[in-house]
């Protein structure tokens, strides 16, 4: 390997690195604005100047200079210091002195680097330039006078987000960053623009002037807005979550998060259930916990187990599902389901409901077939990974389902089951691509598996996967892209109907027909709550959404930022979320509510603390014992695809994405004003793309 000297210290490096990267390997910090590890190199801010020998006797931009064998790199020589001071002075010439009112203050690269590398004063006497604000949609606030033209946002939009709508217009002193005709970006990743902006030019519009970064309490946690389990940091002040930012997790979200994950924050404050309610004379009346438990326990005792049902929602942690499962099983209830949408998954090996390839594993794929999945809406960061691999030119994609703008090119193969049959029978076109692929992948959307003919479709998909050898001895390309954060955890727990039990849609039907006396909704809002007949509905959840409106008793629970919990993402990765703030008002953690209810119902659950609950959970379901672990595509190989689903005839109904409105998929998101604004804006201008 080539060697270079950094400030006299010799270091070996892999060929192809830049001088900046080599200097970082040697532990030297190089200031930068335009350079970003995950974006292409622009080399226009000039902050990363270093002295390199041999070479011209002048400072060089280290981010764009390839390192060479025998190079001597000086990062702190007098020349470098002078050059950096000069660059910083130029950058500050037109940068306003509004740090005291700037939302970036305290976490601003320019502020930090001006302290570290700038002069102590300015020699500039003339007028500063001012730039008109640009409209970039409801999420990004602009103060363009602060912009230093690093073009990170332009490159992010073009490369990562796949919405090449940002650019730098004009030139010289009049250069301005804008989106084409000042429209919001058509992307689910726009919030990241504010993250990568090194100054305060792009900030978060919904959180403008709300906080200072140093007054926030930071908690590492996991997102539940989709089934990816992106790594997030929840920043709170007092009892209030102020913002959600991404954390680096190379396996899932790299360092981006989707807009719903980020801007759901205000939804955590609105429409909250903060005390128990009991319906009396058609109206919900405030109650004490004791009254609420007594009311439920009375109903549970009176009802026969086969006339009781339990449905878990999409945002539940594994602990609360475990507690609910234990309680209702001990009552003899078999009508238990975590699949509100009526998904057919749940029987068979664990691999059948996982995203086996893993999200990072998508970067090894060379052919991907999307079946009824719109990854942009169902998992924006899966889409970003697919785009990343597609941009490398190594990935070919096919889509069966809706025609959608996915930010990469794909072959459109049809709308429904017949197209899949045709693909199995064919041996040219995309079938040829799949056959020739060394790492083929199927991504099956949750929508395909939640239809009346899902059994047959699953069987058909299994056959297709066998035909194209998607699961091999050393590769597992069978992937289910879930939309519910709780789904894999629920299936892992066996949160499915017991012998003779009803599934979620069947429970709704039964309730409507008067065959169900008590229905317990554990944060379940995505069922048709209007049609639950006369059943006594208990809702344990966080928001006054569909479930709470129908409920006869409301038990206020904790949202995902308010309780420690285990979540299993679509890959089958068990992740630990932490509590950032306490539950609102009298609300309690869900498992504790269930534990208290069990006492009232006379079936005391055998755990008194979360630790006891967790150890029992891990003992009974060993997969929960390995936090952050997934086997990966090479180790998870080999499961019986032919056993999937049940043979039968699939209908001709076209596949649809289960997510019709990306911004409003769960009770928390529906309570958010920011996301409602986004939803309204995008649905107004959404191109009418329908399945062919």
């Amino acid at each position: 390997m080539p060697k270079a000297k950094v400030n006299g210290k010799e270091i070996e490096f892999e060929p192809g690195l830049t001088v900046l990267q080599v200097a970082e390997l040697a532990g030297e910090e190089i200031p930068r604005f335009c350079y970003h590890e995950r974006l292409s190199i622009a080399g226009n801010c000039r902050m990363c100047l270093v002295e390199v020998k041999p070479g011209p006797p002048k400072p060089q931009a280290s981010c764009a200079l390839p390192a060479a064998d025998g190079q001597e790199i000086l990062t702190a020589s007098p020349m470098v210091k002078k050059a950096r001071e000069g660059v910083m002075e130029f950058l500050l010439i037109n940068h306003p002195l509004d740090c005291p009112i700037c939302d970036q203050g305290g976490e601003c690269d320019l502020q930090d680097e001006a302290m570290g590398y700038g002069r102590d004063d300015s020699r500039y006497q003339e007028n500063k330039r001012a730039v008109e604000e640009k409209y970039l949609g409801p999420l990004i606030k602009t103060v363009m006078t602060r912009c230093i033209q690093c073009t990170r946002c332009v490159r992010f939009a073009a490369e990562i987000a796949g919405a090449p709508e940002m650019g730098m217009i004009g030139r010289g002193e009049d250069a301005e960053i804008t989106s084409y005709l000042e429209t919001a970006l058509t992307s689910e990743l726009t919030g990241n623009l504010a993250d990568i902006c090194p100054v305060g030019a792009l900030t978060h519009k919904p959180w403008a002037f709300n906080y200072r970064p140093w007054e926030l309490r930071k908690t590492d946690s996991v997102d539940v807005m989709d089934a990816l389990g992106s790594a997030i940091r929840v920043d709170a002040r007092g009892p209030e979550v102020m913002r959600i930012l991404p954390r680096v997790n190379e396996d899932i979200n790299e360092e981006w998060i989707s807009d719903k994950t980020r801007y759901v924050v205000d939804g955590l404050l609105r429409q909250r259930l903060d005390r128990p309610y009991i319906r009396q004379g058609g109206k919900l009346v405030e109650a004490t916990w004791g009254q609420a438990f007594a009311a439920i326990a009375g109903r549970l005792r009176a009802a026969k187990p086969e006339r009781v049902g339990l449905i878990a929602g999409d945002l539940q942690d594994a602990e609360s599902m475990k507690a609910a499962l234990d309680l209702f099983r001990s009552l003899g209830v078999a009508n238990i389901d975590c699949r509100q949408d009526g998904s057919a998954l749940g029987a068979g090996p664990r691999e059948s409901w996982l995203f086996n390839t893993t999200i990072a594993g998508l970067e090894q794929a060379d052919a991907v077939l999307l079946v009824g999945a719109n990854p942009r809406r169902e998992g924006a960061l899966v889409n970003a990974r697919l785009r990343k691999q597609w941009l490398r030119g190594k990935l070919q994609l096919g889509v069966i389902g809706e025609v959608a703008d996915l930010s990469f090119e794909y072959s459109y193969l049809g709308a429904g089951a017949a197209s899949l049959e045709r693909l199995i029978g064919s041996d040219d076109g995309f079938a040829k691509t799949l056959n020739a692929a060394s790492a083929p992948i199927f991504i099956v959307g949750a929508g395909v598996l939640a239809r009346s003919d899902s059994g047959a479709l699953l069987n058909l998909l299994g056959r297709a996967a066998q035909t194209f050898k998607v699961v091999r001895d050393d590769w597992n390309g069978w992937n289910v892209l879930h939309t519910a954060a709780s789904r894999v955890g629920g299936l892992d727990l066996g949160f499915v109907p017991g012998p003779g039990g009803l599934s979620a849609p069947e429970m709704v039907q039964a309730a409507n027909a008067g065959e169900l006396d008590v229905l317990f909704l554990l944060g379940a809002d995505e069922i048709d709550t209007e049609k639950l007949g006369d059943a006594f509905v208990v809702y344990l959840g966080t928001h006054g959404d569909a479930g709470a409106h129908r409920a006869d008793v409301i038990l206020p629970g904790a949202a995902y930022t308010e309780k420690p919990g285990l979540y299993v993402n679509t890959e089958g990765r068990v992740q630990l979320a932490n509590r950032a703030v306490f539950p609102k008002g009298e609300a309690r953690e869900d498992w504790a509510i269930l534990r208290a209810l069990s006492e009232a119902a006379g079936k005391r659950l055998p755990y008194d603390s979360l630790e006891q609950l967790r150890s029992r959970l891990m003992a009974e379901h060993p997969t929960f014992g390995r936090i952050d672990y997934v086997p990966g595509p090479t180790k998870a190989a080999g499961f019986d695809l032919s056993a999937l689903g049940a043979p039968g005839a699939a209908t001709e109904e076209p596949f649809r994405s289960p997510v019709s409105d990306y911004y409003l998929t769960n009770p928390i998101a529906r309570a958010s004003v920011t996301l409602a604004e986004c939803s309204a804006m995008f649905s107004r201008r959404a191109p009418a793309i329908a399945a062919e």
Partner: protein, 225 residues
């Protein structure tokens, strides 16, 4: 230079005329497969030639044609000041050079004339016939002051001659381009002052010359021993 923005009022659509389209394809054909984006500047020129200015629908059309993101074409169109982003006069676009040599030779008087005859700078005149702009050096300092009108240079201008030119354009005529001081190209004003001696040109002074450092003729090869 100032901040350049697209015009507030834009036409509904843009379409290439068949003649322009032919030229467009000639330009695209000049670049290798996959490098069509290189033709963006010549094509924007052709758009401007056809319409007089570059409109937003035209930018979208060019982007579609070259398979570019539309913002990339906008970047180019706003970067180069030669692309007019507002409609310009039907009869003439007068670009008066305002750089130092022309200034010294009376460019400000020309601009005053333009202001009086046409109206404020950078605006379409009320009759829609003229637009005048101040531009940076056009490289004809020898014939200062000068202006580029449409595609041609009009040199050695005075307020009177410029007024005359504007009047002719207004009448729909095409005034002649070049020097308005009667000189040919950039020869000295008032005729040549040096190199006047006839003898320089009739060969009288010619002398045989010996070229310095001329290589010696190659020595004759030595007779074989």
């Amino acid at each position: 230079m100032s901040v350049r923005r697209l015009a507030k009022e834009q036409p509904e659509s843009f379409a290439f005329t068949p003649e322009t389209l032919e030229k467009v394809h000639w330009w695209i054909g000049k670049y290798p497969e996959g490098r069509q984006r290189s033709a963006v500047i010549p094509i924007l020129w052709l758009v401007q030639k056809q319409e007089g200015w570059v409109s937003e629908p035209a930018i979208r059309t060019v982007a579609d044609l070259l398979d570019l993101d539309v913002i990339r074409v906008l970047e180019v169109a706003t970067f180069y000041t030669m692309f007019q982003l507002e409609p310009v006069g039907r009869a003439a676009l007068i670009q008066v050079c305002g750089t130092t040599p022309c200034q010294l030779r009376g460019a400000s008087a020309l601009m005053e004339t333009c202001k009086a005859e046409i109206g404020p700078k950078d605006r379409l005149s009320s009759d829609g016939l003229f637009t005048w702009q101040e531009v940076e050096c056009l490289g004809a300092c020898v014939n200062a002051p000068m202006a580029q009108i449409n595609d041609l240079y009009f040199e050695d201008l005075t307020p009177e001659s410029l007024k005359q030119i504007i009047a002719e354009f207004r009448e729909g005529k095409t005034p002649k381009a070049g020097s308005y001081a009667g000189r040919r190209s950039s020869e000295p004003a008032g005729g040549p002052l040096t190199l006047l001696d006839e003898s320089l040109y009739d060969g009288r002074l010619a002398k045989p010359i010996t070229l310095p450092n001329r290589p010696e003729p190659a020595p004759k090869p030595a007779p074989a021993a």
